[in-house]
Symmetry: C2
Subunit: 279 residues, 2 copies
């Protein structure tokens, strides 16, 4: 047992017993001391070091929500715009949308389809480009992020495969602590119909995207339609309560959630185009 | 000070001080002893009695998430299907959708527009009717609920004005306890593009629908686009972690959330059709 394992497993038994009675109480904590993250940093180690520094523990029943931003940075997904050569399509869209053609080029490279496009209303503001990311989910600008990058002319792409990122993070945390918390990688998306932004899941390890509600009859014994809560998106949205947009708390820990470890993938959260009435 | 006030304010000072350092930790609790709710029950009283029975307290910084189901029941929104006379349009849609025309009639009465309609694929299954509810939000079947109703041939409509329901609930709780927690009334909706259901806000008192993120620069001092988290929907989605679909825990309490009491309405969560690319 290495020192990290020792520290983190100190309250192991109690924590695991407490979690076995999950159902009436959930605790959400922010890690406060995650440092700035750079390419080739080991994010799992940074998380475990922060846990130790802050005297916080995790158990096998904990779930860690991790902002895409720090995952992408560690994975070197920062792209210097000067290195991008816009295609003819990107140049055409650039005029319609009043956006940098190099950013549009990256959006197109990251996407399998353009879902909606709204032209720029006038010279001062930008249009809107909503695409299906190669990983399946739909969002504005393929999730490409212009904020919190050190270096002015660069952008941050989503992880290439956020499920894989989540599984690797989990392995690192397991090797350092002996614990296997669930992992959900999130990004902040807008939504049809509703104002405001919410965090949604883009990559998973251990945590089911969607669960079947345990009960098949209601409180009066009448059969219920099977409901399927989107557990990963419930966790992602909840993490927004503590994950400030200043990127200082990119890791949020949940305890007390009623879940069980299983093989999982973000694909389970994505409707096929055939099922979807809003494409 | 009545006995309820006394009990609930026992840890008043500590609780209010604890909440002033909100930002690193959120606690979510379920009320476990809310009884079955019937028409003309005072839901606020039932909540306060449950708090007392369970020895749980709330502060002015708490937020209560309340399932639409118990609000609608207390408000007498249960409709006997035998009392409904389907219109010609409901009868026509009934054949296309393979649904009870009386239910469709109620959906139409509750809605301002039909947003999408998918015909029944075959005789065994039902089609899909997505409408804009008179209160503005878009959902399947105008949010009409067929489960957890005592009496087989009846359905439950959403509250007529869930903002008003939330404000009244808050007033009752204040009069019984002296505390003014925020209130969010929620329902469980499907979503475009993504599988699984999440709870969303349909009525508010005190809690902002959407907040402006406090910071205008990122961690490196670079100006940020203003982000607007949908606070009410973050809370609603998070409540799903403890609000089982068997309706036994329809009230969930949040503490530690960084929010401030303000005038609020569900209208602030709804995009105008002009802003929306997915109508």
């Amino acid at each position: 047992m290495n020192p990290a394992q020792h520290l983190l497993s100190a309250d192991n038994t109690d924590a695991d017993q407490a979690h076995s009675t999950a159902g009436n109480q959930v605790q959400i904590r922010a890690l406060r001391t995650i440092p700035d993250v750079y390419q080739d940093d080991c994010l799992g180690s940074l998380i475990v070091e922060s846990l130790q520094r802050e005297g916080q523990s995790i158990s096998n029943q904990s779930i860690l929500i991790v902002a895409q931003k720090v995952v992408s940075k560690a994975e070197g997904r920062t792209i210097a715009l000067a290195s991008v050569e816009p295609s003819r399509q990107a140049l055409q869209l650039s005029r319609k949308l009043n956006k940098d053609p190099r950013k549009i080029e990256l959006v197109l490279q990251e996407s399998s389809d353009i879902v909606r496009l709204r032209e720029a209303p006038n010279g001062d503001s930008e249009g809107l480009l909503i695409t299906r990311h190669r990983n399946g989910f739909i969002c504005a600008n393929a999730g490409i992020d212009e904020s919190n990058i050190d270096g002015i002319e660069s952008v941050l792409l989503l992880p290439e495969d956020a499920d894989l990122s989540a599984r690797r993070l989990r392995q690192t945390i397991q090797s350092l602590t002996g614990k296997t918390p669930g992992i959900v990688i999130t990004d902040t998306f807008g939504r049809p119909w509703r104002q405001g932004l919410v965090n949604v899941a883009i990559g998973l390890a251990g945590v089911a995207a969607v669960v079947e509600d345990g009960c098949t009859t209601d409180a009066w014994g009448k059969p219920l339609f099977v409901t399927k809560p989107a557990l990963a998106d419930e966790l992602a949205a909840a993490s927004g309560l503590l994950m400030g947009k200043d990127a200082k708390t990119p890791v949020i820990i949940f305890d007390g959630v009623n879940w069980r470890d299983q093989s999982s993938s973000i694909n389970d959260l994505i409707r096929t185009p055939k099922e979807d009435l809003f494409l």
